[in-house]
Amino acid sequence: MNLIEVISVTNPNMIVDAWNVFIKYKSLLLIGVRNTLIVALIGTLVGLLIGLVIGAIRAVTQNKEASDSAFIRIIKKIGYLITSIYVSIFRGTPMMVQAMFLFYALKPILNWNPISAACVIISINTGAYMAEIIRSGIQSVDRGQSEAARSIGMTSIQTMRYVILPQAIKNAFPSIGNEFIVNIKDSSVLSVIGFSELFWQAKSIAGSTFSTSEPFLVVAVMYFILTYATAMLLNYFEGRINHTKSSFPASQTVEDSTY
């Protein structure tokens, strides 16, 4: 055992051995990749939905208006307080700890399996981060936009839905995409509840081959490929969002004018 460890640390053929580990355990590793991607994708999408609702509530309740009645003021205070508690707790504790606590605490009631627990936990955790991303996205939209919407008689909910949120999401798109990349990596902590994502597969391969560095070298490369490909994809979409199809310089429009 001791000998194997020493060899593995100083193994001159580590890359070749790692390649062999990859070939031998390809199917296990690919299951890990699939599970990692599933949980990261679900976590980001559901987290985004949670973030949209919580972030919108936080942006609205943080904004005190002179026209608010005493009742509205109290409602806003309570709404802001509750969402603050949610955001603070889930940003202020490690996801690994949240996973262990929630999985075992709720197991007697929900009788859930690791994969559904993993999806729920990563979603709630991401939701807390997304809420702050969306809140700052909403606050970055020019105040004139909501004034214009209100001035033609739109309700505050219509204004939020049709005017503010679409622009807030566009502004926040790089941060939202970043959460997806973070989730691909951070889903590895969900191995503590026995969820068989990529890190968990590497650990079990390490257990059966008695060597640690090779499987984790393989997994490191696989994580990097996943995050790098995702980053490229996000860059592409970001470019698409920022360049509308009929793009032309503003000065050109003046000459076309009928005036």
Binding site: A66, S151, I152, G153, T155, V163, P166, K170, T244, T253
Partner: protein, 244 residues
């Protein structure tokens, strides 16, 4: 003539700063009223109170005889159009959809009806050929013309202009003022807060001069510009003439 807007004893403070001190002000149907005065005199705040973008501290505002502080604020706002200094076109929509959104969501018109109406008003302001362009790609003057069309699409009974040309260069100011003149000729009721003295003199039926939150003087443009009574208006116009 019936009053479209009736403002009685309007007061508004921001913290300890009293911006509007007992404003009384009427606008008749088909009348074009310009509000002039130096920055900080309360002109814009008064306009924003009429559309309830600012909530008055006290006093009453009647539009078409209905107190705007009672009843459905959103219905009231859809009747009173507003054109902003910084245009405020919805950045996430095309020119056409800027004009359609309010019609379908607030007035519950069918999409087709809203599109027809939008084209009709975009033609009027000379912007119909840009209907499918994203609103962010227009020049300032074009944006403001679209903003006027957007307000007209709501079939508003009165159109409020909050310094509509202050963010424009001297050349494009003309294209927006032309549209406003055309609307004035067609009998639209308008309240225009502006620093364009030429527009105030030539187009408006009545000029209101404000200073320090009170209406100091109001009257026909020829009286205001040729025979100002109050000292502050004389000073204000004197400074304006020196500048030009």
């Amino acid at each position: 003539m019936e009053n479209i807007i009736e403002v009685n004893h309007l007061r508004k403070s921001f913290g300890s700063l009293e911006v509007l001190k007992d404003i009384n002000f009427n606008v008749e149907k088909g009348e074009v009223v310009t509000v002039i005065g130096s920055s900080g005199s309360g002109k814009s705040t008064m306009l924003r109170c009429i559309n309830l973008l600012e909530t008055p501290d006290s006093g009453e505002i009647l539009v078409n005889g209905v107190n705007v502080m009672e009843g459905d604020i959103n219905k009231h706002r859809s009747e009173v159009g507003m054109v902003f200094q910084s245009f405020n076109l919805f950045n996430n929509y095309t020119v056409l959809d800027n004009c359609v959104l309010g019609q379908t969501k607030v007035l519950k018109r069918s999409h087709k009806e809203a599109v027809d109406k939008a084209h009709q008003y975009l033609k009027k302001v000379g912007m119909d050929e840009f209907a499918d362009k994203p609103s962010t790609l227009l020049s300032g003057g074009q944006k403001q013309r679209v903003a006027i069309a957007r307000a007209l699409c709501m079939d508003c009974v009165v159109l409020l202009f909050d310094e509509p040309t202050s963010a424009l260069d001297p050349v494009t100011v003309g294209e927006v003022l032309d549209v406003m003149k055309q609307l004035a000729d067609e009998g639209l009721t308008m309240v225009v807060v502006t620093h364009e003295m030429g527009f105030a003199r030539d187009v408006s039926d009545r000029v209101v001069f404000m200073e320090n939150g009170v209406i100091v003087e109001e009257g026909k443009p020829e009286d205001i510009f040729t025979a100002p009574k109050s000292e502050s208006l004389q000073r204000f116009l004197g400074r304006f003439i020196n500048q030009n």
